[in-house]
Amino acid sequence: MTRLFHACPFCTIAPPHILRRLVEAGGPAEREAASRTLDMTRQLRTARMRAMALGAPAVPVEAALLGRRVSGARSTYDADHRTRLPGRLVRGEADGASGDPAVDEAHDYAGITRDFLRQVFRRRSLDGRGMALASTVHFDRDYDNAFWDGGQMVYGDGDGQVFQRFTLCLDVIAHEFAHGITQFTSNLVYFEQPGALNEHFSDVIGCLVKQWHLGQDAKDADWLIGAGLLVPGINGNALRSMSAPGTAYDDPLIGRDPQPAHMRDLYHGTEDQGGVHINSGIPNRVFWRVATEFGGQAWGTAGQVWWSAFTTMLNARASFADAARATIAAAGTIAGTRAASVVRAAWQEAGVRVPAGARVAVGSPAGAPARPAATTGRRAKAAKPAGGRAAKPAKRVAAKVAKAAKRTMGKVAGPAKRSMGKPAKRAAGAVKTAHLPTAAKRGAARGGKPAAPRPTR
């Protein structure tokens, strides 16, 4: 096959062994972080060996460890190029590398995503209750896709002509993971605007996990989804760009990136479930705008605001305008009036208008946080004026936390320091819970709605 252009896409994600080497070059603190975030497997192996040395049977100890301590234990399967799921188990939580790159990437990156969620958002696995994580690789033949089937993650090998294997990129795996979280929280309908929001949230989590893993600030990140997935020779860097939707690729073989960045270019057709992978460009750019305006690490204030809005405030049929209202309200609650204005301006720049003072009284003394959809079962009525009783103290704490987050973000630099970042962790934790209404905390702790039943195939 001939190519008119030659691009040099490469996966920008540092493989775990490189990160491990980087971290080991650091001080004792970094080493501690490495063992905590990179090698849960080793802990289990050590426990198993110790138990065996003591003459105890290995399996029950391991099972007990897996059951009690490993929240979101991983099982990685091989479909052997067929389409039956989950396939043949090749790597369990406590097993070492299999030697099959697809298996090991799916397994390791699911582990990184799980760790990110636990450390940054205090989320235990997909359902908030430590649900086991199943991934299947080598699905079908020449399969150009990765998907969430309602109960597990599935990855194809790519056809080798356009796509490489879909496990190559951490953000792809985190994206699929996030579809599971959405299913257990807002359960956004996979069609038109709620579907595009569902896609958007997965892209946000994909980018956040990648940036967290690389220890990147918002301004230094590439904001690309699927960088390195297209084979060399296809004219494109990635599949989507959050900072510049519509610019990820342009190649005779696959066409041009169709993502809009503004409501005037919203796709109204029926393909792709009403353009869920197309129109997600609009909220994607809003998030990029907000994260870069806030500065520092995107998983800090911007990530907390989006997490709070998307996991506790949206209902299943939310529109872009609903997401705008929810994120503006969450920003006001978490980081104060100025942050809320930044979020409002970003949505407005994308053509999503939120009339000031309509349903959200952000910044007004009467502003009160929204109740989570999971608790009320109603459409998010973000920050409905509630008499201004709790407004003053909430505002004070918000300013305090915003200040603390700023301090932390200024200091933390590399991946080692980041994963080390006890102050960062504490600040993130404070942001997560300190200002959420009690109902929201309860909703988050419960993990929202119960799971949808596992589909039969």
């Binding site: 089937d149 599949l239 696959i254 589909p455």
Partner: protein, 87 residues
């Protein structure tokens, strides 16, 4: 039902969201495949796929008398015998 002249498939969605069009000449279809196409056209609207990032197929069937029929299919609703045609 008139004889199938061609099957045009527009694949959309998937993680990448890249649109792809493929066309199969009606003459290359097996009897089994023709029967499966008729069953799809006569049957109820197939259910959507659960989960996210699955492919969607817009299938246009052109008959030799010039008429056309169009159906929308989720990846999970494609009959195994048509997997080489609707892909």
């Amino acid at each position: 039902m008139a004889e199938v002249a061609a099957v045009e498939v527009v694949r959309s969605g998937g993680f990448a969201g890249i649109r792809r069009t493929t066309r199969t000449d009606g003459g290359t279809l097996s009897g089994e495949q023709r029967a499966a196409i008729e069953a799809l056209l006569d049957g109820p609207v197939p259910p959507p796929a659960p989960g996210a990032d699955r492919f969607r197929y817009g299938v246009t069937i052109t008959f030799k008398d010039g008429s056309t029929r169009r159906i929308e299919l989720a990846e999970t609703a494609v009959p195994p015998v048509l997997r080489d045609v609707i892909r």
